[in-house]
């Protein structure tokens, strides 16, 4: 019964195709990764060589959990996406609310990315991953 919490390989493979398509569709994305909500890397599409993806997955899950705790404490609801604006790039963190396998997605982009386009496709991708068929998830 507990093994149902482990993310199935079919779901990971399907997600990998989705991430690669997203990376190729939206201009200005360097890196997009799907992680389990407890901080394990699941799937990755990247235009850069990044060797600490495991750590990025763990930090991403921590940040999202901490921000959600903060949001709850100040009595706001439904924080879905966090945007971090650095000097040399932007980071987008979002929860993927799959009914069986809650996950976290992180994308790193150029600073001059078209935010509207990015967020539109990012949310669309998140929604698609959230509604991945349960046949992939069991």
């Amino acid at each position: 019964m507990n093994s149902s919490r482990e993310i199935p390989q079919a779901l990971i493979e399907s997600a990998h195709i989705e991430l690669q398509r997203f990376l190729n569709t939206v201009t200005g994305i360097d890196f997009v990764m799907l992680c389990s909500s407890d901080g394990f890397e699941l799937a990755l599409a990247s235009k850069k060589n990044i060797d600490n993806t495991g750590k990025i997955a763990a930090v991403s899950s921590s940040i999202l959990a901490m921000v959600n705790a903060f949001i709850t404490e100040i009595q706001l609801l439904g924080c879905q996406t966090i945007t971090l604006d650095a000097d040399n790039g932007k980071v987008f963190l979002t929860a993927v609310h799959h009914p069986q396998h809650p996950m976290v997605m992180v994308a790193v982009t150029h600073t001059d990315i078209l935010m509207g386009q990015m967020l539109y496709y990012y949310k669309e991708l998140s929604a698609r991953l959230s509604s991945a068929p349960l046949s992939l998830a069991s």
């Binding site: 919490r5 482990e6 909500s37 407890d38 901080g39 394990f40 495991g54 930090v59």
Partner: protein, 181 residues
């Protein structure tokens, strides 16, 4: 009466009872950052802490203590240095039911000792009749010249956890007194 605000951090093995200990002790609803545990090979519990737990307790003398729980898995070790900043004491909980419990003790002591010297060790998941099994931890500490207070605790029991907290506070007060003398 002087009110003091202390910060105490809970570290140690995944599933040792860090979140349970803070839940048992806290006067306020505990802030948690739990996620579904997908690493069932490491532990079968359903949820695991991925950020921090936060609770508070006020002792009878008015001392106020912030209780901070950390994730146990070493992939979250970046949180440990962040959470331990300014801590007056560290509770390390070790799950006795794990086969590598002495290696776990060594690992977490090494990791957390760098953030503070006021450390207590709590061994959890010991049955009543297994109390004598603390000997392996005492022997290990003696061999490795560690002199930290060691307790067998049920992390769900307020008195057990409180004893460790009071030990940390007593150590700090004794250090303060000897510094004045």
């Amino acid at each position: 009466m002087i009110l003091q605000q202390y910060k105490i951090v809970f570290g140690g093995t995944m599933g040792a009872g860090k979140s349970a200990a803070i839940q048992a002790l806290s006067d306020i609803p505990v802030v948690t950052t739990e996620a579904v545990n997908t690493d069932t090979a490491a532990h079968h519990k359903f949820l695991t802490t991925v950020g921090i737990d936060y609770g508070e307790i006020s002792l009878e003398d008015g001392t106020q203590i912030g209780l901070y729980g950390t994730p146990g898995q070493d992939r979250f070790d970046f949180m440990w240095s962040i959470v331990c900043k300014g801590a007056m004491g560290i509770v390390i909980l070790i799950d006795h039911s794990q086969a590598d419990r002495l290696k776990d003790l060594e690992f977490y002591l090494k990791a957390f000792e760098q953030y503070g010297s006021n450390v207590v060790v709590g061994i959890t998941h010991l049955d009543q009749e297994d109390q004598h099994k603390l000997k392996i931890y005492r022997d290990w500490m003696q061999i490795h010249q560690k002199q930290f207070p060691l307790f067998a605790v049920d992390a769900r029991e307020q008195d057990d956890v409180l004893l460790m907290i009071e030990t940390l506070i007593t150590t700090i007060e004794m250090q303060a007194e000897s510094a004045v003398a």
